[in-house]
């Protein structure tokens, strides 16, 4: 119950974004080592989406 309420807060949302960035980091490393442009692109897009979550939420979703 407590855990659920944490992920409903701003800090919880940022934690989820952080987890997404860590996952993207792994995808990027695999992509770079396998010389796969597809995986590199996937990882990079994931990073950008996670990074943009905070401004999107604050200035678009909340308005």
């Amino acid at each position: 119950m407590e855990e659920k309420s944490f992920f409903m807060t701003n800090a919880g949302h940022l934690t989820l974004a952080f987890i997404a960035i860590v996952i993207a980091f792994v995808v990027l490393l695999i992509g770079l080592n396998a010389a796969s442009d597809g995986l590199c692109l996937l990882g990079f897009v994931l990073v950008m989406l996670a990074m943009l979550f905070s401004p999107f939420k604050k200035f678009i979703l909340k308005k």
Partner: protein, 537 residues
């Protein structure tokens, strides 16, 4: 490499920095929101105008995330340590203990507004000294506005080598300074010198705020002694071990100021009745708080442990060598832009040695402190959960901002934008750039909220500019991090932390008005001094 260096390319490279500034200063966005926008512009510019490909962007992003993760480890564990002490109300015990030991009010203000903040900055940083210091100062009768101003100033000198050297490490990483190398040590020496000046200035300014000329006259001996210990100690230790070069002198100064309170000059009760920073009415009507049976020594237990642990591991070479066996790092392939700007392949990029990393000492101290306080009943039921939840809540916003800024800096560097920026500035300003070098550092801290992020963002830029102008790199890098350290006193995120804990949220503008002149003047003076020393002499 054949990047066209012209006004358009320079403006495109400068655009993300301008956007960051405008969003944060004009529109009051936080770094968590502004950094991703700056990053998007950097990526767009890199792809469209600097001919980067997806492999290069992926590689620089992954490098940036890895560097940021290492930094976030320190941020989280530093905040965890603070939360443990806060939950056990150890800071109230420290405040009451100091009041008893220091009957001279000016010495008490110096201890609570400068020396204790220095100690906290030596270990934790990231705004913790301001967040902790403001309510403690209000508790001894300082007006709330000044209770925010004093810790902001008091913690600033320790920003480069504080937090066990996190900002310094970031500068070394951004500028490619190899630990122990001649350039590393020379830069540390210049930095120590500049920071000593800033440290002395801080002590004198606090005395001035307290009692103008009378305050300086009474406080001068104490300030000189403290500054020799802190500034001089940091200068010396910077040549041996940068991790403890702020922390150790800060610990010593905390003990010495207590001893100063026993000296003839400071042992009697003394105060300036009409001091502009003191609220006499508040002191007399101070509210009774719930008394704790914790003593001063017990309140410091996690910090004493941290000191012991850090000293043993970093100074006992066999222990250090054994623990440094474990090292984590990743290989990165060579990448290049369409203009032939090459980033060489690396076997093991920025390796993390977890058992000798500052975050490990902070984490272990926090855990032992938690167990110790809990065993004595000072952390109540549910306290452990609160400590962890609050530490994550405080870490995440700055964590996301750090990731954004580090990736932005890496992409700028990897696509050649930093090089074009530096080349343009070098061409226009020439060697006169040296005057502005500390101001760039101040700007970085003001924008990003930390000396460390300022060094990440502008370290490579300062290095490239210095090389292009054929200026001595070490003093320029030292000016960068000293500017970053000075700028940490005006960083909006730290001011907000202070106004929040001092319950004057919304008065950030008034705080900034008081503090801006006393930060810009020393930064400019250091720049002029630097210009004279490395250009004219």
């Amino acid at each position: 490499m054949n990047i066209p260096i012209n006004l358009f390319m320079w403006i495109m490279a400068f655009l993300p920095i301008v956007v960051l500034l405008v969003l944060m200063i004009k529109f009051h966005w936080g770094a968590t929101e502004a950094a991703p926008i700056g990053l998007i512009i950097t990526v767009f510019t890199g792809l469209v105008f600097y001919k980067a490909d997806i492999k290069l962007l992926a590689s620089e992003s992954a490098k940036g995330i890895w560097n940021a993760l290492i930094i976030i480890l320190i941020i989280w564990t530093a905040i965890l340590l603070y939360q443990v002490a806060d939950e056990a109300k150890a800071f109230q015990v420290i405040r009451d203990g100091m009041r008893k030991l220091l009957p001279n009010e000016l010495l008490l203000v110096l201890a609570m507004g400068w020396i204790f903040e220095s100690f906290l900055q030596g270990i934790t940083g990231f705004g913790v000294p301001v967040a902790v210091g403001a309510p403690l100062l209000i508790g001894i009768g300082v007006l709330p506005l000044w209770a925010v101003v004093l810790p902001l100033l008091g913690q600033a000198w320790g920003n480069t080598f504080g937090t066990l050297g996190a900002a310094w490490d970031a500068l070394a990483m951004a500028a490619g300074l190899e630990p122990g190398s001649a350039s590393y040590l020379t830069t540390a020496l210049w930095t120590g010198g500049f920071l000593w000046i800033w440290n002395l200035f801080t002590g004198l300014v606090i005395c001035w705020f307290y009692g103008r000329g009378k305050g300086i006259k009474k406080g001068l001996p104490a300030v000189l002694i403290m500054s020799v210990i802190q500034g001089g100690g940091e200068l010396l230790l910077g040549q041996m071990n940068t991790t403890i070069s702020c922390f150790l002198p800060s610990c010593i100064s905390l003990v010495v100021i207590m001893l100063l309170g026993r000296m003839k000059m400071y042992r009697d009760e003394w105060k300036i009745e009409d001091s502009p920073i003191m609220n006499r009415a508040f002191t007399e009507s101070a509210k009774e708080e719930e008394k704790s049976d914790m003593n001063l020594l017990q309140a410091f237990v996690p910090y004493i442990l941290l000191s012991a642990l850090t000293l043993i591991v970093l100074l006992v070479t066999p222990v250090k060598n054994a623990l440094e066996v474990v090292s984590i790092g990743f290989a990165f392939p060579e990448t290049s832009t369409g203009y032939g700007y090459v980033n060489s392949a690396v076997e093991c990029f920025s390796p993390l040695k977890p058992f000798t990393h500052a975050s490990m000492f902070l984490f272990l101290s926090a855990m032992v402190g938690l167990i110790y306080y809990k065993k004595h009943g000072w952390i109540k039921e549910g306290g452990t959960g609160r400590v962890f939840a609050k530490s994550i809540s405080m870490t995440m916003p700055s964590g996301i901002a750090v990731i954004g800024l580090v990736i932005m800096s890496n992409v700028m560097g990897g696509t050649g934008q930093t090089m074009v920026l530096a080349d343009g500035i070098a061409g226009v300003l020439g060697k006169g750039y040296a005057v502005l070098a500390p101001i760039v550092g101040v700007l970085g801290s003001f924008m990003t909220g930390s000396n460390m992020s300022s060094n990440i963002l502008f370290g490579d830029f300062q290095l490239t500019t210095a090389n292009l102008l054929k200026l001595d790199v070490s003093p320029i890098l030292a000016a960068q991090t000293t500017g970053g350290s000075i700028g940490s006193a005006v960083s909006s995120s730290k001011i907000v932390l202070g106004t929040t804990t001092a319950s004057i949220l919304g008065k950030e503008g008034e705080v900034l008005k008081k503090i801006l002149p006393v930060t810009l003047i020393p930064a400019l003076l250091i720049g002029v001094g630097l210009f004279v020393m490395i250009v004219l002499l």
